[in-house]
């Protein structure tokens, strides 16, 4: 892949991640976890895909652009710490789990989703200055089993369909 094409693909993926971030704000997660700023983590689909397809450094660049532009569009600086801590925790755990080579894309995604939600709880702890948000850790961890499986499934389907597609000219 040429570097121009790689940069263009990164930009498209960053735009896609922003779209996911926007769409998941319509999901009424606040009914179960009344912590504003906490998100489901659907944008992690893009992180999983980028990590496997483009490698860690491109995935990190996409994540950084998503977090910064997301906070800018929302006009909300306090949301930045949630998306940064959530996104980077997920990224770190997924890089490590992928290196183990024994886990499938499902296991890696579930680990990433769990780390994403732990990172968001950490952001809430830092923002509020006390331990109250920890009470929502159990339910967020259970939610991450679902979102992680969903993310893994979508990424797996994507790679499976791409196997029938000649990649050499990308």
């Amino acid at each position: 892949m040429t570097s121009t094409r790689r940069i263009a693909l990164c930009a498209v993926l960053a735009a896609l991640a922003l779209t996911f971030s926007y769409l998941e704000s319509f999901f009424p997660l606040a009914l179960f976890v009344p912590l504003p700023g906490v998100k489901l983590g659907l944008a992690n689909i893009v992180t999983v895909f980028a990590l496997y397809f483009l490698g860690a450094s491109s995935a990190l660049a996409i994540l950084l652009v998503r977090c910064l532009l997301g906070a800018l569009f929302a006009g909300n600086a306090s949301a930045l710490i949630f998306s940064l801590l959530g996104g980077f925790s997920a990224m770190l755990v997924m890089i490590l789990l992928r290196r183990c080579r024994i886990f499938s894309i499902f296991g890696v995604s579930i680990g990433g989703a769990a780390a994403h939600n732990c990172g968001q709880i950490l952001a809430a702890l830092l923002t509020l200055g006390n331990a109250a948000p920890l009470a929502y850790l159990p339910v967020l961890l259970l939610v991450s089993l679902l979102t992680g499986s969903l993310t893994g499934l979508i990424a797996a389907l994507l790679f499976r369909s791409m196997a029938h597609f000649p990649m050499d000219h990308i």
Partner: protein, 136 residues
């Protein structure tokens, strides 16, 4: 891309380790933050603003309080052994939608006002006997 061939696309037994680890963490967090679970008369609602405790309200005693924090005003109401944010002028209203909490470890969080209400057990040395059961 040759990389694709090394990607494991089907869930395998090793993935169960990760699921088990997440479940274990959830269970640990649950037992750590909901130790008693049951209601008891000695609990109190601890109101904090900016991470500092401003008031402890015993849950067995009806009370109405207003707090102004970071530009928002919240009305906290204690009744029937539970506590809720009855009214708030914060933009998200998540604190109001949380509803009533009554068990130790539960909390209500208002991020815009940086105010939390958490239910705690009785502080040490604060032995309290609530007469109950006789009249009921």
């Amino acid at each position: 891309m040759s990389m694709n061939r090394s990607v494991k696309l089907k869930p395998n037994a090793a993935d169960l380790l990760i699921v088990a680890a997440v479940l274990l963490l959830a269970a640990l967090a649950l037992f750590r933050f909901f130790p008693g679970g049951a209601r008891d008369g000695a609990q109190s609602a601890v109101v904090s603003i900016d991470g500092k405790i401003v008031e402890r309200l015993p849950l067995f005693q009806r009370a109405q309080r207003s707090y102004t924090a970071n530009g928002y005003t919240l009305r906290v109401s204690v009744e029937d052994g539970g506590v809720r944010v009855a009214q708030s002028d914060c933009p998200t209203q998540d604190c109001v939608h949380t509803g009533v909490i009554s068990r130790r470890g539960q909390s209500i969080v208002c991020l815009p006002a940086r105010l939390t209400v958490t239910i705690e057990g009785a502080p040490d040395g604060y032995d309290l006997v609530v007469g109950q059961g006789v009249a009921e």
